[in-house]
C-alpha cells in the first residue's frame, strides 16, 4: 500500500505542531521517522492513523485522496498504529484484548477459531504469549507483540509504530525487528517512529527527518549517522560531559533491603552513595529500580534490611523525616506524583515555601515565584496551571520547588520526554548541585544518558542489583546485557 501525506498542518490551540509536512511511504518498505522529542512525529502519525484530525492537508492511499475521522475507519483502509502507551485492556486476557475490534467475531466467545489464529500468529512471529494470560501481567514488549498480532489479524497493510523500542529488552527488540522485517517482506508498509538513531539505522531502508514540525530531510540507506544528526538538530549539540567527582562522606547506605512498591519489588539490595556522587540506575521497567528510589526517599518501607542516613538508622521512619533531612524525590510521572495539575505555579510555590503562617503571604510568594521562574527559565505565567506547561517546563518547575542544596536527590527518568535543550539544561543544573555536595541518584531508560553523566552505574535485574560499578570499569554493552538478564551469576 502506497501512502502519500501532502502538506499536512496541525494546530493545537496556538501551537503549530505540523507545518506543511509532505512524505511518501512505499509498499513493502520499512520507513523511519526520525526527530527529537517535540519535533511533531507523534502528531503526524496520529493524524495518519485517524486518531487526531488534521488542520489542513491531504492523505492519498494508492493515489486516491481519502478522508477518515477515527482509528476504526483508518483500519478499514488498512492503516493501523501501535501507540507509545499500548492502547489495550489490562483487566482482560490476551485473547480477549486480541479479539476486540477484529472483523467477523462470532457472537459467542471464546472462539476456537480466534485461539487458533492467535497461536498461529505467535508461532509465525516467534512471540511467546499465552492466550489466557491477563494483559496486566505482560511486559511492555509483549503488549506490543499482542498489538502487532491484532493489527495483522485485522488486516492492516500499513503499520505505524510509535517509539516501540522504549522500555523493552534487547532480546524483545530483536524479536520485534525480525517481525517487522517479515511483515515488510510480505508486502506491508512499516513506519517506525523514533528518536533513537541506531534503531532507525538498523531497521529502516529510508528515513524522513522532522525538526520543529517540518520535514527537513529524506535519506535512503546506507545512512551516515553524522548526516542524520545534522538533520535532526541543525548542528550537533555538544554532549553533556561528566563532572569531576570529589568523593565525600557516605550519605545513604542500604543494607540488604527488600521492599515492594505497587507491583515492583527489590530483593536484598545493598547500596551506598556519597556526597557529590552521581549514580545512574539502569533497568527495564519493573525491575526494582522504582522501589529502590522510593525506599531511599522514605516513600516505601523496607520489610527486610536496614537503611542508614549519615550513619543513623532510619528504617521505618516517615517520609517527612527523610524530607527534613534533605532527601528529595522527583518522580517519573510529573503530573501524577510530582505536581498538582490544576494548581497554578504560584500555588505550587506557596505550598513549597509558604511556611506555617495561617494566611498565605501572596505578595512574597509572587516575588519568589517570579524570581525562581526566571532562574529556572520556566516559560509561563505565575497564574498558569501546572498541567498547561510543556514537559521541560514541568520538570524545571519540579526542580525549582526543591530547596537550594538538598543532601540527596533521587530522580526517576529526569529527562523523559524532554527535548535535547531542556535535557542539557537539567543536567547542567544537577551537576552544579553535585559539585556543591549533593548526592544524586537517578534512573533512566536511556543508557547513553546514564553513561554520559554518572560516576557510578547500578543495574537492576528482576529486583536485584545485578551490577554496581564505576563508570570507567564497565561498558554500555555489559550493562545492556545485565539488565536483560543475560549475565547471571
Amino acid at each position: 500500500m502506497n501512502v502519500i501525506l501532502r502538506n499536512i498542518h496541525k494546530f493545537y490551540g496556538p501551537v503549530h505542531a505540523n507545518r506543511g509536512i509532505s512524505v511518501t511511504f512505499r509498499e513493502g518498505t520499512i520507513h523511519g521517522i526520525l526527530g527529537e522529542n517535540g519535533a511533531g512525529k507523534s502528531t503526524l502519525m496520529k493524524i495518519l492513523a485517524g486518531y487526531t484530525p488534521r488542520s489542513d492537508g491531504q492523505i492519498l492511499i494508492n493515489g486516491a485522496p481519502v478522508d477518515y475521522s477515527s482509528p476504526g475507519e483508518a483500519l478499514k483502509y488498512g492503516i493501523g498504529m501501535l501507540y507509545q502507551d499500548p492502547l489495550d485492556f489490562p483487566a482482560l486476557t490476551a485473547i480477549e484484548s486480541f479479539t476486540i475490534g477484529l472483523p467477523e467475531t462470532p457472537i459467542c466467545l471464546p472462539s476456537k477459531h480466534f485461539v487458533k489464529l492467535f497461536e498461529e500468529l505467535t508461532r509465525r512471529f516467534h512471540f511467546s504469549i499465552r492466550p489466557e494470560i491477563p494483559v496486566e501481567y505482560l511486559t511492555v514488549g509483549e503488549r506490543q507483540q499482542l498489538e502487532i498480532m491484532r493489527l495483522v489479524a485485522a488486516g492492516a497493510q500499513f503499520i505505524i509504530l510509535d517509539e516501540p523500542t522504549t522500555g523493552i529488552s534487547i532480546r524483545q527488540k530483536e524479536i520485534l525487528f525480525d517481525a517487522l522485517r517479515q511483515l515488510a517482506s510480505s508486502g506491508r508498509t512499516i513506519v517506525l517512529v523514533s528518536h533513537k538513531l541506531e534503531d532507525v539505522v538498523n531497521l529502516c531502508s529510508e528515513v524522513y527527518i522532522l525538526r520543529q514540525g517540518k520535514c527537513v530531510g529524506h535519506v535512503a540507506a546506507p545512512f551516515s549517522k553524522a548526516e542524520l544528526l545534522e538533520y535532526m538538530f541543525g548542528q550537533i549539540p555538544p554532549p553533556v560531559s561528566r563532572c569531576i567527582l570529589e568523593k565525600g562522606a557516605t550519605v545513604l547506605w542500604m543494607d540488604r533491603v527488600s521492599a515492594s512498591w505497587k507491583k515492583t519489588t527489590m530483593i536484598r539490595c545493598s547500596f551506598r552513595v556519597r556526597q557529590g556522587e552521581i549514580v545512574g540506575v539502569a533497568g527495564l521497567e519493573g525491575s526494582g529500580q522504582e522501589t529502590f528510589l522510593r525506599v531511599a526517599a522514605g516513600i516505601a518501607t523496607p520489610h527486610e534490611g536496614d537503611l542508614y542516613l549519615d550513619r543513623e538508622k532510619v528504617t521505618g521512619r516517615k517520609r517527612s523525616y527523610f524530607k527534613n533531612r534533605g532527601i528529595y524525590f522527583v518522580p517519573n510521572d510529573r503530573l501524577a506524583e510530582g505536581l498538582f495539575p490544576d494548581l497554578s505555579l504560584m500555588d505550587h510555590y506557596a505550598i513549597a515555601f509558604g511556611g506555617s503562617s495561617w494566611l498565605i503571604p501572596w505578595k512574597t510568594i509572587e516575588e519568589l515565584a517570579r524570581e525562581r521562574m526566571e532562574t529556572f527559565s520556566i516559560k509561563g505565567q505565575v497564574v498558569s496551571k501546572a498541567a498547561g506547561l510543556s514537559g521541560g517546563n514541568q520538570q524545571r518547575l519540579l526542580l525549582s520547588l526543591l530547596p537550594a542544596n538538598p543532601r540527596l536527590l533521587l530522580l526517576e527518568d529526569p529527562t523523559r520526554g524532554l527535548d535535547v535543550e531542556s535535557a542539557t539544561w537539567i543536567w547542567k543544573y544537577l551537576q552544579n548541585l553535585a559539585q556543591k555536595g549533593t548526592a544524586i541518584v537517578f534512573s533512566s531508560r536511556d543508557l547513553d544518558e546514564v553513561f554520559a553523566v554518572s560516576h557510578r552505574i547500578t543495574a537492576f535485574f528482576e529486583g536485584r542489583i545485578a551490577l554496581d560499578a564505576e563508570v570507567n570499569t564497565t561498558t554500555v554493552d555489559e550493562v545492556q546485557k545485565t539488565i536483560a538478564g543475560l549475565f547471571r551469576e
Partner: protein, 319 residues
C-alpha cells in the same frame, strides 16, 4: 416446620428479586463505565408509575412497562447530560435522585393508600407441590421468576458473548475501544438505558409485589442505595451482585424473626442492622490484609476482592 422454612426461603427470594433486577441493570451500566447514581429515585418513581398505571388501566403488564419506561427516561436524561454534554455523573445522578423522589411523591399523591391491582402468584404445576423447594421456588409472581432467569443471562452476556466483551472493554479503556473502531458513547448509552429500564421495573416489583400499593413512605426508599452498594460488594459480577442481594434479603428477613423472639429489642434497631453489616463487609473487602485477621478470613476476603472498571465514572468525549 419444614413447610415454614420453605415459606421463609420463598420470602427471601421474593424480597430480593427487585434488588437482583436493579443490581444487574446497574452492573451492566457500570461495566460500560457509567455510574447511574439516580437509582434510588428511579426505583421510587418506577414504583409510583407502575402502581398508578396498573390502577388506571387495570393491567399490571402495562404498569410494569410504564415503570420501565420511566426508568429509561431518567437514564436517558442522565445520558444526555453526562455522556453527550460531559456533565459530572455523580452530581447529576444525585440531583436526579432527589428530583425523581419528590416527583414520585408529588405525582403519586392521588394514588396513595388505595387498593390496586397486584402481580398474581403463579404456582408452577406439580413442581410447586414438592415439599420444601416447591414452596420456596415455584410460588412466585412472573417478575420474580424472570429475576432468577436474568442472573445466568446477564453473566453469559458479559463473559460469553462478543457484545459483552465490547461492553467490558468500553468500561476498561474507552480510548482503546475507540481506536478499534467502536462507538464508545453509543455502547455506554445503550447499557445506561438498559440499566434504567431494569431499575424502573424493579420499582414496579415493589409497588405491585412485595410492598403493594403507593404511599409516603412507600417502603422502597433507600433500596437504590443498597443496590449501588451491592454492585460494588459483588465486584461488578452479576452472579455475585445477586448473591449479595439474597444475603441482604435474608438478613432483613432474619431481623423479623429475631424480633418475634426477643420482643424487648426495638424494631428499628433490627431493621437497620443489615446496613452497618454491609459497610463493615465493604471495609473488610477493600482494606489490604491485616496481621490480626485469621488466615481463613483473609482468604475468603481475597475471593471477594474486585477491581472496578478502570474508566468508571470518567468522562470520555470522542474527539
Amino acid at each position: 416446620m419444614d413447610m415454614s422454612w420453605g415459606l421463609f426461603l420463598g420470602m427471601i427470594i421474593a424480597s430480593a428479586a427487585p434488588l437482583v433486577v436493579a443490581g444487574i441493570g446497574e452492573t451492566l451500566t457500570e461495566r460500560a463505565g457509567v455510574i447511574n447514581l439516580s437509582l434510588d429515585g428511579t426505583i421510587l418513581l418506577g414504583a409510583m408509575v407502575g402502581f398508578a398505571t396498573s390502577y388506571a388501566t387495570n393491567s399490571t403488564f402495562a404498569g410494569v412497562l410504564a415503570a420501565g419506561a420511566s426508568g429509561t427516561l431518567v437514564a436517558a436524561i442522565l445520558g444526555l447530560l453526562c455522556l453527550k454534554w460531559s456533565a459530572p455523573q455523580v452530581a447529576v445522578g444525585f440531583v436526579l435522585t432527589l428530583l425523581c423522589r419528590d416527583l414520585a411523591y408529588f405525582l403519586g399523591n392521588p394514588f396513595a393508600r388505595i387498593r390496586g391491582p397486584q402481580l398474581t402468584t403463579i404456582s408452577v404445576p406439580f413442581l410447586s407441590d414438592i415439599d420444601f423447594l416447591g414452596t420456596a421456588l415455584f410460588n412466585h409472581n412472573i417478575l420474580t421468576y424472570l429475576s432468577i432467569v436474568l442472573i445466568p443471562l446477564a453473566w453469559m452476556h458479559l463473559y460469553l458473548t462478543r457484545s459483552g466483551l465490547i461492553l467490558r472493554a468500553a468500561g476498561e479503556n474507552p480510548e482503546a475501544c475507540r481506536a478499534r473502531g467502536y462507538m464508545v458513547m453509543r455502547i455506554r448509552f445503550v447499557y445506561l438505558i438498559l440499566g434504567g429500564f431494569l431499575a424502573g421495573v424493579a420499582g414496579a416489583m415493589f409497588s405491585l409485589g412485595i410492598k403493594p400499593g403507593w404511599g409516603r413512605p412507600q417502603g422502597a426508599e433507600g433500596m437504590g442505595w443498597i443496590v449501588l452498594a451491592l454492585v460494588i460488594f459483588g465486584g461488578w459480577n452479576p452472579v455475585r451482585v445477586s448473591a449479595g442481594a439474597y444475603v441482604f434479603a435474608s438478613l432483613q428477613a432474619m431481623s423479623n424473626i429475631v424480633q418475634n423472639i426477643w420482643i424487648g429489642i426495638p424494631a428499628q434497631l433490627l431493621q437497620v442492622a443489615p446496613f452497618p453489616l454491609m459497610i463493615l463487609t465493604l471495609v473488610l473487602i477493600n482494606t489490604s490484609e491485616k496481621s490480626y485477621q485469621p488466615q481463613s478470613l483473609t482468604r475468603f476476603l481475597a475471593l471477594l476482592k474486585a477491581r472496578p472498571p478502570a474508566a468508571l465514572g470518567k468522562d470520555f468525549s470522542e474527539s
